[in-house]
Chain length 108, copies 2
């Protein structure tokens, strides 16, 4: 469950600009502010079920955007390469560092 939440948080971070204001509101309250479905439904005077459906639909949209654009996947790859690069720089091994820079450039 924690892993799923982390993933949704990252996807929300990358793709929130493509959501409607209502979708963004519900997601922010539920995932970032830790509101319950009941609290959100009271805040917006809509049914708990409507909030639930909206959030589930938004999660599916975020996954659909990720399937198409892979921003989270590429972000993780880039972070991994940068972590390796930092290690290499500590070891002062230049050739390896240059290989990693090349890999990073080719990632886009």
């Amino acid at each position: 469950m924690l892993e799923k939440t982390t993933r949704v948080n990252f996807l929300f971070d990358f793709y929130q600009a493509l959501l409607t204001p209502k979708q963004r509101n519900y997601m922010e309250l539920y995932y970032l502010e830790d509101y319950s479905l009941g609290e959100i439904s009271e805040t917006f005077t809509v049914s708990r079920q409507a909030v639930y459906d909206n959030i589930r639909r938004t999660e599916s949209m975020l996954e659909a955007y990720e399937d198409k654009l892979h921003l989270y996947e590429k972000f993780k790859e880039r972070q991994e390469l940068l972590n390796q690069l930092v290690t290499v720089l500590d070891d002062q091994e230049f050739l390896q560092a240059e290989k990693l820079v090349k890999a990073l450039k080719e990632l886009e």
Copy 2:
């Protein structure tokens, strides 16, 4: 004009997964294969005006996605940082390299 074409090509590269198959077809033929509007309209047996309108609308969509997600802008920033990093590695100046890696990590 060349600068505009380069920009559209990059935006197409980043956001083509969000376009419809028809939009992708027209854009590929026009921008990548260098077909004229007339040639595309003959290929698909539609009017030249329809092809023109579709391509202009697609260009607007690509710019709208860029306004929201900034993938091309971030790509250019990252390339610039990586170019600086390569220079620094050639000079064997470690501290600077580490600063750049930090900047790269914070970019996402």
